[in-house]
Subunit: 332 residues, 4 copies
């Protein structure tokens, strides 16, 4: 199912080269001021253009189909549509025969019996994250002073990210990266003891972002190498502030009032201009593939704003569950 | 909510030092042969006893409360109860004042207003994984020839795990570890394109296991350092087998028919005998804490069977969704 | 939440006088042939025009936003939009002061703090059933030979329905009615023992249709007056056919292979041209209200096709749950 | 699935002649005082004993398996078990061959392939309502001053209920009845515009109660015979009180602050001592059946407290959704 959330619930739809992509958000409190302008910043951050991103340019103009009245949310489903404008489907038609390594082409055609819209990855495309970013804009407004910040901290194995990108462009290859996200201002008590721990729900949402292959909270994989006496964060204030933050702001699956910190591993873009030797499903023989089309050298460059959106959506849901965001927001 | 799953759905309940812990499983196909004996192996693996595990010994005897008739599942809710027998609640009563660093004590009392059963971690205790392991036994039987195997591959930063444990016991400290899980025999096509990707649903479930702080699929965090031309797994057979397995058996969130591989980071047990300097919530002053009670030196030792169970539960749900496990199992 | 269903799941959105109304359907098997033409018949049945229906005319032209490729469903979310074209919002603006008796005006403004789109009932409008009818078209195709038929059997207390309508039009009043729905060709075994009984899930869905105030299955309220020896349906064939059908095709919440029969009570349209004496929320005094705008004399006339759609959606979900509709439909 | 609810969520399990029946309630706010004594009144009301009810006597002693600590709810899952003590399974064994008309015997064996626990109706038994009544006790406490009252208003077609029962006992037959439920003290604004209307969610829950075959809100089926000018409830106060209550306290699926009123039709108990002529599934020929065992002459006598519980559970969930019951109840 393409739905996520419990009380703040998003449903995404669309395809990369179809009519458009979009999102319906259910559970938005009534009375939140919201106009198209609110979306500009985050859509710009997600948009390609910088070195290392795809030359495909899209207007990415959001259009409210429902749920807005007099520039405020109505409390009923909010649907936002992004029509596709710049599509070149002819680029992809021949990929039906040779599924691109690293892509969803092979699994999609097996799962959907060949009926999938294969153009540009169809419903598997990173373009679907537009709906998520739009939902993130709404969520961030509801979160008020809770501040979420994600940034690329490593690409191609180095923290000199510009250099890594330059090298990859030169090599006509792609590179992966690591994005770190931190959240300040969270109350104690978000999350549930077992299956709906904060780590559980966040990672569920975050692994839906294409290209993410790992996530770690606080010290994460480094914690596996530590002793308990090193890893434990001693509490130093009555409101739960800790000396260190190896837990990444979460104990027992519940926020502890410290900064929440996690990192994700982004794999290198699967589409590269390098020749690949892989199966041709029509001939049943190994074949050479050179992927055409327009692609990102380092998709991780575009992940931070998507990761922020994913995080904001999850935290908004938890905040509503804890009754910390009122049902009628009243234009605050 | 303490529920997980869509068509194969588990609900857990209980406390570490209350009457017991248990699980209700909804959506079990009718006609699966099931007796108490089926649980022995996995409960033994989970049970403490080896060096590095807690001296608390529990019988861990499962009892069917519902859903079994003539040694077969009935198709209606299957409830399994484990009564607690060996509890020493007096060990914990004074921890109300000084929340243990690294534990859920502080967040629990904030979230539940002091009404939580704090004895032995209460509902946050690792003892709750008994219900998960029991559900895993049922799931594994339904999965038939799909084979799940988890093992501890690193502890305290070394692959010489025995040595790491010995050192930690000697230091009266605890150590973390890394557990790897692989799954053989999966069909192509499990998982959904976006929010219910295999990585999403698996990580949701797996982060509910206490002490897990990171997860990575296939090359995981290493992928972030790779080039696309290195990371892409070329397809070498008509059924999708690949030359390498950097994707860990999952493309676009969907199983691709190769071995599924992922690793989790387990933090060191938070309870150590080392003296800790932390806040006393009664006095409002920093205080020294020496955690008594009976604890695991390396909780990661007991994670593999829990991880297998978690994985089996998720995969069973996906298999039923794909109509690959019939509604009436008929005693196969 | 504006979502319904488990495996065949619909999400509706929109407002009566906003940009449009629509539906996203998740869980449609891939490979079902589907074009705009498939919607004509049911949209025509729902459309006004007959005596007793509103003079507001809408094109009701469906537009696929996602989920269709080469005239077949793709297996990913199917979104259908109906843009509003014929809106006269000025009719409604003054109703803010005097909530119309029988309508949702009063509760909507209390629930959504005055932020609701009040024009023409906004999100509460019967126009929202367009999305349901569209989902019903898809569901009916998936149901194949299972045949659903609903018809108005009584209006204004008489079976001479034409006469009842004529009288109400003459009186400038409105009338209620009873719609009966029967389903042929159902297999034994749809539905779940307790909370997801067929009656439970059907009535949940059906009471979401505006103006429905009662539902009864089989003999329904008449059963309350019967003896067990009269009401019991003796089984007369090995496949469960019964002599009588007082159960309406459902025992213990599960379909028994006989015709499913139920009836719903539709209240009279709340908007009438008759003068009403009710509270003016601005003045705090009782006031006279004459509802302008364009309305149905007997909304029950337009209920049958909506009821069929609601039933089809529920039964499709149950059929998929029972694995009786394959995940890949393959254009049958 | 045997689960119901969104934020106040119940899971039932068990069989009539197995080890017991029970319920797990998830989402109970922490800090509600709760002891076994709280259950006495409602369990007594549900218990058989009066003329017209089954001679099977059960202790119906609730036992908390989890979620209670120091006589207060903990905020984590609350599990209540009722062990079966008085079972006579031999009564039922021969019914496998001749499914009882009106019962779930036939559909159960088809749905679960013969693996169902058929003793005493197994999981389909009215005994499962014990868990529902227990959940209702908790819900009623949370609802505070909201008062729910259900009563049998008609049996066997007459309001002289005692007479109807006497006659049926004399005839060795059974009779149906009508139960009316009213709720006072509800706020305006519970329920959602479309799929989660109050009528939708209540009827979903209520049709899970065995033997219910119809439900109507306010004027219900009578509304179908009325004119709009008669049916509309004029508002006579600023807080929404109406002159009449044909809507039964609900407009557009949302509570309007007036008394909520609905009625359910209860079919006559299917088990009667009358000889029935029905199919023998072993011989494939019509056969005579005289149902032995211990049964209720008028099951409707025992419905009111179950209906109250069902209503309380649904309303509690809506109240929590509207943030009108706090997450930490603090022993009020």
């Amino acid at each position: 199912m393409d739905s996520f959330g419990k009380l703040f619930r998003i449903h995404i739809f669309g395809e990369s080269h179809g009519l458009g992509v979009g999102v319906t958000i259910d559970g938005v409190p009534a009375g939140l001021p919201l106009t198209i302008k609110d979306f500009n910043d985050d859509l710009n951050k997600r948009r390609s253009g910088a070195k290392g991103t795809t030359p495909r340019k899209e207007a990415d103009q959001p259009r409210f189909l429902s749920g807005i009245f007099h520039d405020h949310t109505t409390g009923t489903p909010l649907t936002i549509l992004f029509e596709n404008t710049n599509t070149r489907s002819e680029d992809y038609s021949k990929l039906r025969e040779i599924p691109r390594p690293g892509h969803a082409d092979f699994v999609a055609t097996k799962k959907f019996g060949g009926f999938e819209d294969y153009r540009g990855g169809g419903h598997f495309s990173g373009r679907l994250t537009l709906g998520l970013v739009a939902a993130g804009v709404v969520a961030k407004k509801l979160l008020g002073s809770i501040h979420i910040q994600a940034r690329l901290i490593e690409a191609g194995g180095t923290t000199d990210i510009r250099k890594a990108i330059d090298k990859a462009v030169e090599d006509q290859d792609s590179v992966g990266g690591i994005v770190e996200c931190s959240v300040k201002g969270l109350p104690v008590g978000l999350g549930e003891p077992f299956f709906d721990s904060v780590e559980s729900v966040l990672s569920h949402m975050i692994f839906s972002i294409p290209a993410i292959k790992g996530i770690e909270f606080g010290s994460g994989f480094m914690a596996a190498k530590m002793k308990g006496s090193e890893h434990n964060d001693n509490i130093v204030s009555m409101d739960g502030k800790t000396e260190t933050n190896n837990a990444g702001g979460i104990n027992g699956g519940i926020t502890n009032g410290n900064e929440m910190v996690f990192r994700v591993a982004v794999k290198p873009t699967s589409s590269t201009s390098k020749k690949q030797h892989t199966m041709n499903m029509k001939t049943g023989k190994m074949d050479n593939l050179e992927v055409q089309g327009r692609h990102d050298t380092c998709i991780a460059l575009r992940v931070p704003v998507v990761l922020e959106a994913a995080t904001a959506v999850v935290l908004t849901d938890f905040m509503i569950q804890e009754q910390k965001i009122p049902k009628i927001y009243r234009g605050k």
